[in-house]
Symmetry: C2
Subunit: 331 residues, 2 copies
């Protein structure tokens, strides 16, 4: 039995490594549900990873991220790279969240065998979104996609954690949004390796650049250099300059080029550690949800206010966690 199971897991891993897109899509779905066989297959894929260049693209809804990603895919394809895309943006046409025109515009890449697009619904992941994203990146990396683009909405904590998994992160804003400065202030600037002012043919683009420069200066003299690039993604203007800026960041950060093994770089070491953290958090969350589901009595006592939720949490955790080396929190 165990032998059969191991053979099945090995077969899935082999197919994915051979580039079987359908097997990969099924594995990603099974990983969403954390099926044990899927996790086992992922372990088998892991030694083949570490070659992809993982590029995060994040920013407010309406900043034109998807059009920019579309243009980036085109450039990377011209350079001969296969490109994987993970869209974690509920407003992205890749996620099916956009108006019809957008979706049709993107679909030209959907027929290109050198491009694999996977969208992750932000609903129903309940905290596991970051781990799901990491899993999909692992599969795409193992399949030999030299570039993996992760598109997120740069607002929630989830999205910031996901963007932090990327080796290089592009933060996109637009002129005249009114709140771009505050939104970027709120933690997003910390994760930006390259800043983009998209829709730069609009009024106020130069002002946005100046505002961003001012904010970058506030970081002090020892901060990492961050370039600012103006683009008009819909016409392709500035996209080559953006790629060059990303390339310069890659060189500065000592990241290996797309498609080359690079376990040595500090950023890739950090990514591997982040994957461990995601895996642990996600599995504990699942264990918690299972324990909660099994204790309808406890939930009822909390709902009827017979017990406070904090004492109930103590009771549940005591049953879940090991003894004295992990004292019950809050007791």
């Amino acid at each position: 039995m165990t032998n059969d199971r191991e053979q099945a897991e090995a077969r899935v891993a082999e197919r994915v490594l051979a580039g079987d897109v359908r097997a990969a899509a099924r594995l990603m779905r099974d990983l969403d549900d954390q099926l044990p066989a899927a996790v086992a297959a992922l372990k088998r894929l892991y030694p083949s990873t570490g070659r992809a260049f993982v590029l995060g693209v994040t920013g407010n809804p309406g900043a034109g991220k998807s059009t920019l990603v579309d243009a980036l895919i085109e450039r990377f394809r011209k350079q001969g790279h296969r490109v994987g895309v993970v869209a974690v943006d509920p407003t992205s046409p890749f996620s099916g969240g956009a108006i019809l025109g957008d979706r049709i515009r993107m679909s030209r890449h959907a027929t290109d065998p050198g491009v694999f697009i996977r969208s992750l619904a932000t609903r129903g992941h309940m905290g596991g979104l970051s781990r799901s994203t990491a899993d999909v990146v692992t599969v795409l990396d193992a399949m030999g996609y030299e570039v993996v683009i992760v598109e997120t909405v740069g607002v929630g904590q989830d999205e910031i954690e996901i963007a932090a998994q990327a080796e290089a992160t592009v933060v996109v804003t637009v002129p005249g949004l009114g709140d771009e400065v505050q939104a970027i202030k709120a933690g997003i600037l910390e994760i930006a390796d390259v800043l983009v002012v998209n829709k730069a043919d609009r009024e106020g683009a130069d002002r946005s650049v100046r505002d961003l420069l001012g904010m970058l200066e506030l970081r002090g003299p020892h901060a990492q250099p961050v370039e600012i690039v103006k683009t008009v993604a819909s016409t392709g203007q500035g996209v080559d300059e953006l790629l060059q800026a990303v390339e310069r960041h890659r060189a500065r950060a000592l990241l290996p080029p797309p498609g080359r093994a690079g376990e040595g770089s500090p950023r890739r070491r950090k990514r591997a550690e982040a994957m461990l953290v995601e895996a642990v958090h996600d599995r504990l969350r699942r264990a918690a949800d299972e324990a909660l589901a099994a204790r309808a009595d406890l939930r009822e006592r909390v709902a009827s206010r017979a017990i406070d939720p904090y004492t109930a949490a103590d009771e549940l955790l005591a049953a879940l966690l090991h003894g004295p080396e992990h004292p019950r929190p809050g007791s």
Copy 2:
């Protein structure tokens, strides 16, 4: 010793119940760090909760949520209610994230002893934001604030979870944002009890209302009624109508009025259960982080790719979780 500790916890709880704002602010800080004494004090406060009307206000950055919250505070104060505000919005002036003009405008409420404003940084909470918000609401509720307004950015999963803790949720959008429809589509419509088109003096307000009506119709005939209100928060226009719509929702949902005990209502039962879930998730996350911090060896093996992160997660969880009734995930 234990007796001393219990007396100290009781003293903190007494002071907070007596309305000591400084003691409450310190308790909220200690709860952020989940200090055991603070959690113990929270348990003592819990029986005094269940009276506040918890109103969520959420929407995209730039929708004018803070100005609307400001106007709502004013109206609730005129009705004689004391108002607590929890700002979980990084772009909110309550959180110190806004431009100076906004901050000055809001500060008039800061000198009103009938208003308590607590902002929660979205950075550094790493998944515990939802639990932190619930804790602050509990403290404000116990202190006798009849209305507690929770202001969030309605984008990330964190924020959606927080908004779901409210008894009534107002989702704010503005005309001409271009992406309001998609953004609201992405799960936010599910949590809206009242929809607001703010800045309704702008062009396109009626179109936004029509778009929203169309989306509401898609929900089918058995969906809960959701009213749409046009406001210009900066002039106060439509704010009374908004309050009336919230009031009608409260009556429909059988929620008790502000300041009245109401443990019986289904929405309050749900809130109590949600608090249990938050408490359990948050504490498990802390247990995971402690366990990860203690295993530098394991993190190094993952970083150097001597072991894959999934197998490492198995190892760590086996040490953390109890035996066979909670089988190791992924094994």
